[in-house]
Symmetry: C2
Amino acid sequence: MRRITIKDLANMLNLSTSTISRALSDHPDISEATKSRVKETAGRLNYRPNLQARFFRKKHSGLIALILPEIHMFYNPSLIEGVNAAIADTPYSLVIFETNNDIKQEKEAIQQCIRWAVEGVMISVTYNTNKHSMSHLEELALANIECVMYDRIIPDTSFPSLTIDNQLAAKKGVNILLENGHRNILGIFANPSLAITRERLKGYNQAFEEYGLVPNPDHILNALQVNLMDNILPVLLSNKTFTSIFSMTDELLFSTTNNLRKLNLSIPDDLSVVAISDGIFTNQFYPKITYIEDSGKRMGAAALHQLIEYINHPSREKKSRHLPTDIVLADSVKRIE
Amino acid sequence: MRRITIKDLANMLNLSTSTISRALSDHPDISEATKSRVKETAGRLNYRPNLQARFFRKKHSGLIALILPEIHMFYNPSLIEGVNAAIADTPYSLVIFETNNDIKQEKEAIQQCIRWAVEGVMISVTYNTNKHSMSHLEELALANIECVMYDRIIPDTSFPSLTIDNQLAAKKGVNILLENGHRNILGIFANPSLAITRERLKGYNQAFEEYGLVPNPDHILNALQVNLMDNILPVLLSNKTFTSIFSMTDELLFSTTNNLRKLNLSIPDDLSVVAISDGIFTNQFYPKITYIEDSGKRMGAAALHQLIEYINHPSREKKSRHLPTDIVLADSVKRIE
DNA sequence: AATATTTACGCAAACGTTTGCGGGAATGGT
DNA sequence: ACCATTCCCGCAAACGTTTGCGTAAATATT
């Protein structure tokens, strides 16, 4: 039970392989009569082109790689869903690499991409990837593989990137709290070695400044790792007189809600909460959390389209883009005077 | 800047392509001297084998496909992580297809697998895939592609499967509640068209029966879709006198916790809770939830290894296996008399 | 009717790698 | 010194597909 090939079809129909090939791809050189004859038998015999051979001959792989630091509960599942939905309308297939926030695994993933001759790479880098350790990314460029960075990017490089306007998003979020009378706003942030953290931090501060207020550096919690939250957050909340919390991600928000429950504090009666969020957790949670939307689904689709754009037009100028962000108001903010 | 090939190396070193190929793969026919000479220049010139060409010639693709119904917050991220970690030690790469619980997309994914000539498929089927609609799976067999089902399987088919012992797991979970004195146990279950739901339901009932009790069918909630929980659960909890809840998945558990908060009911003071869970949500949640572990990570690794086993030994007898389940006790169960 | 064009197909090479086979040179044994 | 091995390496085919080029027949043009 060997797999049926173009040669088989050629033999059965007394045609050459070239005619079969052209007939199947609707080449104008082939008459309608033979086209339908070929297609009919191909369908009947369940012929499936060998993509390996095709792409080998055509010198491209039909593969697009998605490299991400981790696949945990938040954001990335949504992102994968977005990429998957978008790639269904294209001739490409998706391979996914997970780096576990380890730059060594990131390098290994890139080597894999080169060996597979993928046609494009979408990457969200690890904590430790920065301007001075991106030789592996430059290898991609040398191999003529298009690359866009998304979400966790390295700013100010020659690689195009796609993010939301992180500073603006954070500013919008904090603004909601300020406008509702909050002044003591605990800002919960991730690892500051990530550009995304620094940008969102800027937005937090900028919101205060534009309001004519001075942000208090003591009101910032930098959770180098999420599980440290359980130690730090209770201390912070018991000592200070916060009336609200701004969380820069879903992951930190989840940890926050658990800690609030542990401290017997409720949202929004004891503390108002605003987050930058994918939208899934914040909408399903009770009470629904007010958030600035950073949709993984939309990001995934947009990043893919941008990448395919570059693949199809390699010479086109590469630039970094921002996705717009919506404000979604819900039940987690209480107005105070 | 063309990519460097074996031919290039052959020309530069005045050797034949066959010698280069053999030298790079440590063939005994090649002397150590030339081996090191070849490897040195290959390394220096950054030679990367063209996997498309290699696999094309060798008549396999080096690809393994993972087909899953959805990538939401729970389980599947963990599963992907497990597969990814395990596949790193193998010569295979992973492609992921998401079917959105749509049998049409599932069929499409399988067609893709055949066209790509993947060497194995790991699949968790949709709600609507059953014994009478699995012609696409049989096509896989015809194409000599190995296939294992995991998690959401079709029972009693010729395809090997990998699951936990769902009935046993549910029984274990309900048992914990029974042993702690609970008799009115709300069972929260998913769509009964899934075999996994029916199995776990059996376990729920069996636990009662082995305890000499008669399970009450009115104590079963079948959430055909998760978002329906918000309507049904409050009604059920206000009418009946439940003292505890058994949830068959993380997803349903999450919805449950939100509804409990809405109703101002706390765990475990008002209601004890036990779930079958991947372990991530239950451990991070406050209070920590007692659960029967169904680890996506472990499942992913195990399914992959089983699949590779079949790929390497196609004639080996295929059988369905169960993964053992651990009980993880935490803070969500209160003893009552 | 002679020439020009179009139509419809076949020939053969090419993509990069692996591998069966063959053979010259070096080595071993007597 | 002769034969049998062993050691290294090259030749060439093969995997399935696409595609530039060539060409005979059919059709169009004058």
